[in-house]
C-alpha cells in the first residue's frame, strides 16, 4: 500500500494554486491599482503552482522537464521576491504569495519547490519518467526472458 507522498506533494501544489489564484483574482478584480506588481506576481505564482501540480503528476520526459522548470522558477521567484520585499518594502504595499519567503503561508512557498525538486531528482532514475525512448516494463521483462528474440525484433526495419 502506497502512502501517496507524491500525490500529497501534488495536492499541496494544487491547494497553493487555489489559494494564491483565488486571492490574486479577488485582489485584481477589486483593488488592482493599489499594488499592481504584487497582485500580478501573486497571479503568476498561482499559474506556476498549477503548472507544477499538473507536471509532477504526469509521466514522460517532457513533463519531467516542465515540472523541474516550474519548480526551479518557483524557487528562484520565492528567493528573489522574498529578498526584494525585505530590502525594498515600499515596492510591495500589499503582500504577495512570495513576500517574506512565503511567511503568510507558513513558509510553504519556500518549502514546496525544494520538495518538488527533490522529488524530481529522485524521479530522474525512473526511466519511464525522465529518459526518452526507455523500454516499458513489459518490454524489459521480455528482454530478460529472451534477449535473442528482442535482438531479432530490433533488427527488423520497416
Amino acid at each position: 500500500m502506497s502512502a501517496g507522498w507524491s500525490r500529497a506533494l501534488t495536492a499541496a501544489y494544487a491547494f497553493m494554486a487555489l489559494a494564491a489564484g483565488a486571492r490574486a483574482g479577488v485582489q485584481i478584480a477589486t483593488e488592482f491599482d493599489a499594488a499592481p506588481l504584487a497582485f500580478t506576481l501573486s497571479a503568476t505564482s498561482s499559474a506556476i503552482y498549477l503548472l507544477a501540480a499538473f507536471a509532477l503528476r504526469r509521466e514522460g520526459p517532457r513533463w519531467w522537464r516542465l515540472g523541474t522548470a516550474a519548480c526551479s522558477v518557483e524557487l528562484v521567484g520565492v528567493l528573489a521576491i522574498g529578498t526584494w520585499s525585505l530590502l525594498d518594502p515600499d515596492r510591495f504595499p500589499a503582500t504577495t504569495v512570495w513576500s517574506g519567503f512565503g511567511s503568510g503561508y507558513g513558509c510553504l512557498p519556500l518549502a514546496l519547490p525544494a520538495l518538488g525538486l527533490l522529488y524530481q531528482w529522485r524521479r530522474r532514475r525512473d526511466p519511464h519518467v525522465a529518459r526518452p525512448g526507455a523500454p516499458l516494463p513489459h518490454e524489459e521483462v521480455r528482454r530478460a526472458r529472451d534477449p535473442a528474440a528482442t535482438e531479432r525484433r530490433g533488427s527488423v526495419s520497416c
Binding site: 502512502a3 501517496g4 499541496a12
Partner: protein, 114 residues
C-alpha cells in the same frame, strides 16, 4: 464559521490530519472512522459556510476575502479525497493529511477575516 466554532473545527481538522499522517507513516489505507470524521467535519463546515454567507458584508469585514476562505473551507476536503485516489481507486492517506492540514489553516484564516 466564526468564534469558538471555528477554533473547534480547526483543532478537529488538525486532529484528523495527524490521524491521516499516522496512517501514511504506517502505509495503511485511511480507516473508515477517519473518513466518517472527515464527513462530519465537512457537514459542520457546510453549515458554517451557509451561516457565514448569510452574514457576508457585515461592517468591518473584508467580504471578498472572507467569502473566498468560506468557499475554500468546503472545497478542500473533497479535493483531498479526489487527489488522494490512485488509478485503482484506492485512497492514500498522505494527500488527505495535507488537505486536512490546509483546511485547519483556512478555517483559522476565515475566523480572522470574519
Amino acid at each position: 464559521m466564526t468564534g469558538r466554532a471555528a477554533t473547534t473545527a480547526a483543532l478537529y481538522a488538525g486532529f484528523l490530519a495527524l490521524w491521516a499522517l499516522g496512517d501514511a507513516l504506517r502505509r495503511r489505507e485511511p480507516s473508515r472512522y477517519l473518513l466518517l470524521g472527515g464527513a462530519v467535519l465537512e457537514a459542520a463546515l457546510l453549515a458554517g459556510a451557509a451561516i457565514g454567507a448569510g452574514e457576508l458584508g457585515a461592517p468591518g469585514q473584508d467580504a471578498p476575502v472572507h467569502g473566498g476562505y468560506l468557499l475554500a473551507s468546503i472545497v478542500l476536503f473533497p479535493l483531498g479525497l479526489l487527489l488522494g485516489r490512485d488509478r485503482d481507486g484506492r485512497l492514500a492517506p498522505a494527500p488527505l493529511a495535507v488537505a486536512l492540514l490546509a483546511l485547519a489553516i483556512v478555517v483559522l484564516r476565515a475566523k480572522a477575516t470574519a
